[in-house]
């Protein structure tokens, strides 16, 4: 399965590709950090940008699957660690599907994926009331070609920090 290779590539991808759908500037900025690091920048380990890019805000799934791969579990472990360290944040996990499949089924499938990620984070100690889920089915692909290369990136669960619980 060359998907594994793709996962390897994904790590790199997550580092260089800022998720276009999430504008870090709107995220209530994780303040603090030491003076040498620009607060809120990807180099600030307490920033959402760091969460997105260094930790990795998304996990990918195989066709029709909502099972977490080992790679996905690794990423989610990182997310859990971050969330446990940054308790101000709550998150919504967005589940997505590729375009192969009907609209209705993909909505349900996306919810399964989002929930898989959520359950994993909870199992790692993140409080359930900090984690919401939503599915976009095939409505919001990030890659729009109609080949497996794009599909594999669209079958995803993205953990989106939606703001801090306290100020």
């Amino acid at each position: 399965m060359n998907v594994l290779g793709k996962f390897a590539a994904l790590g790199a991808l997550a580092l260089i590709t800022a998720c276009t759908s999430n504008d870090p500037s709107t995220l209530g900025g994780g303040a603090g950090g030491n003076g040498a690091i620009v607060p809120g920048s990807p180099s600030d380990p307490r920033s959402p940008a760091y969460f997105q890019q260094a930790v990795g805000d998304r996990v990918l799934f195989l066709v029709d699957q909502s099972t977490l791969t080992p790679e996905a579990q690794t990423i989610l472990q990182g997310q859990a660690d971050w969330l446990l360290a940054n308790t101000d944040y709550v998150a919504t996990i967005e589940g997505h599907a590729d375009e192969q499949g009907t609209r209705e089924y993909n909505l349900a499938l996306g919810e399964r994926r989002a929930n898989a990620a959520r359950e994993y984070l909870i199992s790692r100690g993140v409080a359930g009331n900090r984690l919401q889920t939503v599915s976009f089915g095939k409505e919001r692909p990030i890659e729009i070609c109609s080949t497996e290369e794009c599909y594999s990136k669209n079958r995803r669960a993205v953990t989106v920090l939606t703001g801090s619980t306290t100020g």
Partner: protein, 439 residues
């Protein structure tokens, strides 16, 4: 007269017998004919006054387009006409219409008086020289001229084919624009032929899958305006909408009305599991219809309301199942290769239309409600979401093209698999829901 002729035949037989044995009529059996659109002519309706001329012309054109669009009829171009119809009441020159091989002829006249528009028409079987049905007149306002044309065409269709028409009906759909990853979706409604599009929502939130109520007065649809998919019901006439109180914090989607319009069945997703629920619209009470760890979605009632066909992946892949309307044991009906989804019960009750995915292609197909006689009507990169015409003869669906520039378009196809054609909409279109014939 028949009797007369019959007795005549008997007489002839008797006469013939003494000479040669005569075996009565020559008996033949035909089991093969042709399948071609029936050639018809619609000479421009006669305007009673000059003011009616434009309406007469437009109405005649819409009638022709309606009939031609079915694939069951073929218009004979007016430049082939031999005789002109200059008076609605003048006798029809059948010979002239036979000569150009018109089998059906529609004659009519249009009267305009102020805002009032009157259309009268007759349908003729040219080769027998008989009128099909009786002349009829519709009255309305001038701004309703298209509907009147559709009504005439519905009558012609019914009189020739023997089944109800579907032209005076509307379709709700999702109007789509923009690239795939930032698609703007708006709820819209239009005449069945793509005319008179009006938008019911703006594109601020993703909207999905509108579903007409049986009487056509309300629409169910799914919107993301709250951040997650929730079901809304919209009063089509007043454009007033309301969110249905499904459980908070959950995703609810894929709704559909029961045939009596009193309740809906829908999918509710929570905790990674999607099941079917039913809500009584009067009381707002929801009850659970399925309770399995698999995905159950895309429910559709049988026309009598007794059963529900839906999609489930309980077998490992999405397949079609039927269960009693109040829930209970479900029977699988799809057994072909591939994955099946979005089943929709036909208005006649005998067929289920569905989306099928197999070997990288999508199809719209129909099968009997016991799963037999599956027939695929279309094939493309992505076809999905069938909806039935009010008479159960035509299926409209979404076709999405491939790749980064992919675009959604509405298509319709006759249940014979013939006459596949796009439905024109201003932008892209998806998720059609065909409403009932209007009154």
């Amino acid at each position: 007269m028949m009797r007369l002729l019959t007795s005549l035949f008997v007489g002839m037989t008797l006469l013939a017998v003494p000479v040669f044995a005569q075996n009565g009529p020559l008996r033949l059996e035909l089991d093969e004919g042709i399948i071609e659109p029936l050639p018809f002519a619609v000479p421009t309706f006669v305007p009673d006054t000059p003011a009616a001329a434009q309406y007469a012309n437009d109405i005649s054109r819409v009638i022709s387009a309606d009939l031609t669009g079915t694939g069951l009829f073929r218009e004979i171009a007016p430049d082939a006409f031999i005789s002109r119809v200059s008076s609605f009441d003048a006798p029809v020159q059948f010979a002239d219409w036979k000569a150009i091989n018109a089998e059906a002829l529609v004659t009519g006249a249009v009267n305009v008086s102020g805002k009032k528009l009157t259309v009268r028409f007759r349908v003729w079987d040219v080769f027998s020289g008989q009128e099909l049905g009786n002349g009829l007149q519709f009255a309305g306002t001038t701004d309703g001229w298209r509907r009147m044309a559709h009504k005439v065409a519905d009558q012609v269709y019914a009189r020739v084919t023997g089944e109800g028409g579907y032209f005076d009906s509307r379709v709700a759909f999702v109007s789509e624009s923009g690239p795939k990853d930032q698609r703007k979706k708006r709820l819209a409604i239009m005449d069945y032929d793509g005319a008179n599009v009006q938008y019911l929502t703006d594109s601020a939130a993703i909207v999905l899958a509108p579903r007409f109520s049986p009487s056509g007065d309300r629409l169910l649809y799914t919107s993301y305006e709250s951040g997650r998919p929730r079901i809304y019901v919209l009063d089509v006439g007043r454009v007033k909408r309301q969110e249905l109180k499904t459980q908070e914090g959950t995703m609810s989607f894929s709704p559909r009305f029961s045939p009596d319009g009193q309740s809906i069945v829908y999918s509710l997703a929570q905790g990674g599991n999607t099941d079917l629920w039913k809500m009584d619209l009067g009381s707002g009470q929801s009850t659970r219809l399925t309770n399995t760890p698999s995905i159950e979605t895309a429910p559709s009632y049988s026309p009598d309301g007794s059963r529900i066909v839906f999609e489930s992946d309980r077998s490992g892949t999405p397949q079609l199942y039927i269960m009693p309307a109040q829930g209970g044991e479900a029977t699988r009906i799809s057994f072909g290769q591939g994955r099946y989804g979005t089943p929709v019960w036909s208005p006649r009750g005998d067929l289920v239309a569905f989306t099928k995915q197999n070997k990288g292609r999508f199809h719209i197909g129909v099968m009997r409600t016991d799963g037999s006689e599956e027939r695929l009507l279309t094939a493309s990169f992505l076809d999905e979401g069938p909806t039935w015409s009010p008479n159960g003869r035509v299926i409209m669906f979404t076709r999405e093209t491939q790749g980064a520039s992919g675009r959604s378009t509405l298509y319709s196809v006759d249940i014979s698999g013939r006459n596949l054609r796009p439905v024109r909409t201003p932008d892209g279109g998806s998720d059609p829901s065909w409403g009932p014939l209007q009154n």
